[in-house]
């Protein structure tokens, strides 16, 4: 009776240890990033700001430019983002450049759009890949040199490594332009350009070969109307597959809306749409 066998003693000690530990056991917190406010900075943004806009002030006061993005998107590989300019696009003062940034993406500069007053209204819509919980930012550079910024915090993940849609590789480069009818002369007119392209990031795994698919993405789209530049877009793989840009342009008469596209493998395509 006095001599509990070895197993009993070990189990007894084990029980005591477990009893002692049990109240301290907690669930893992889930490993999600700490919450952040939409207007917060981040180390990545500070780094980007120093590189893109060295020694220049970036004004984040609301009122000049706004970015609209969901707090959570259906898929990280396709986060809808809208940029709204509060500034009328005039020859005297206009939005000259828009920088679209995703702080925590492997390549955070998703797009740089070089605009002219021909856009009429500097609003843009596209879809972004967001790889992890991150701020998505727009920086508007005005023709007078001022910089204005707005940001949204987006909670999603896996946007850069999501399995790509490879159903229509034979159509890669097909460039489609659409214009919302009726077209009003001398007014900002909504339009859309879509390039059928996988926009491979280099982080996607081919499920069959188990090899990473090399990066291959659209790097520029130049849009003009009647041979007048509307905007040039420098893009990166942070733009979702089948890159789409919704924009405005001001038609001054009959002409052709044209999009010239180039990708990272020197593929070149042109899409056109004649307007009456």
């Amino acid at each position: 009776m006095r001599s509990m066998n070895l197993i009993g003693r070990v189990l007894g000690v084990g029980c005591l240890a477990l009893l002692a530990c049990a109240p301290l056991a907690h669930a893992a917190p889930g490993g999600l990033p700490a919450p952040a406010a939409h207007a917060d900075s981040s180390p990545e943004w500070e780094n980007l700001r120093a590189k893109l806009f060295p020694s220049r002030a970036v004004d984040s006061t609301p009122g000049t430019v706004q970015i609209i993005a969901p707090l959570r998107a259906a898929y990280g590989a396709s986060v809808p983002v809208k940029v709204v300019s509060k500034l009328p696009q005039s020859a005297q003062l206009y939005v000259k450049r828009l920088y679209l940034l995703v702080d925590k993406n492997p390549s955070p500069v998703a797009a740089v759009l070089e605009l002219t007053p021909e856009v009429g209204q500097a609003d843009f819509e596209t879809r972004l890949r967001v790889d992890e919980y991150s701020h998505v930012r727009v920086v508007a550079e005005l023709s007078n040199g001022q910089l204005h910024m707005d940001s949204r915090y987006v909670k999603t993940s896996g946007g850069c490594s999501a399995p790509p849609n490879r159903d229509a590789l034979h159509l890669v480069g097909k460039t489609v332009l659409k214009v919302r009818e009726p077209v009003a002369m001398n007014q900002p007119t909504p339009a859309e350009v879509t390039v059928l392209h996988p926009n491979d990031t280099g982080f996607e795994l081919n499920q069959v070969t188990v090899m990473y698919i090399p990066p291959h993405y659209v790097r520029s789209i130049k849009v003009s109307y009647a041979d007048r530049k509307v905007f040039d877009a420098e893009l990166d793989f942070s733009i979702s597959e089948n890159p789409t840009l919704r924009f405005n342009f001001v038609p001054h008469g009959q002409g052709e809306l044209k999009a010239e596209v180039e990708d990272t493998k020197d593929g070149r395509w042109v899409g056109t749409l004649a307007l009456p």
């Binding site: 009776m1 509990m4 029980c15 669930a27 999600l32 919450p35 707090l71 909670k155 993940s157």
Partner: protein
């Protein structure tokens, strides 16, 4: 005396040592309305009609959860709900009826049907009909938020990974976008 202590301790050890296998599904504390599929194996149809009728009667919203018995991410979300039930249940109960659709990973988008009243649609068509961007891919687990007329209250993300903390789950219940 020692023998009794030993046996008690052994039983206690075994209870702790064998990992508890939680039953699949939303924990009972959330009083889920469990919906089993009908029509298998040709189709797995989940009928939301009764849940919507109850939502109308009680002036509540629906928190529709699609889980699979063999899905590790479902178990993770259900465990999160279980562990935080004391904090979360009052928020769910105040505004939502939790509906637990019990499925399996073998039930793909083509096999999964959602019925509301007379209308039954396969997953992709259902998602398109309600304007849900997740039409492209069926992911387990999935959550929809509906009002009592089956109108989606907000676009939900694929999976539940972005709301597995209490503050984030509450964001979802408050429809923060």
């Amino acid at each position: 005396m020692h023998r009794l202590a030993f046996l008690w301790c052994l039983a206690f050890w075994l209870v702790l040592a064998v990992p508890a296998v939680a039953a699949p599904g939303i924990p009972a504390a959330y009083a889920p309305l469990v919906v089993q599929p009908t029509g298998a194996p040709a189709r797995h149809e989940f009928d939301l009609s009764a849940a919507l009728e109850r939502a109308r009667r009680e002036s509540k919203r629906l928190y529709v959860y699609l889980g699979a018995h063999n899905c590790p991410f479902c178990r993770r979300y259900e465990a999160f709900l279980e562990q935080n039930a004391a904090e979360l249940v009052p928020h769910f109960a105040a505004q939502y009826i939790v509906v637990d659709l019990r499925s399996s990973l073998s039930v793909t988008a083509e096999l999964l049907f959602i019925r509301i009243g007379e209308r039954s649609l396969p997953y992709t068509d259902f998602q398109r009909a309600i304007g849900d961007e997740r039409a492209r891919m069926l992911v387990y687990p999935s959550v929809w938020l509906f009002d009592h007329e089956a109108k989606p209250l907000m676009q939900m993300p694929a999976g539940t990974g972005t709301f597995q903390t209490v503050p984030e789950q509450l964001e979802i219940l408050r429809l923060e976008q």
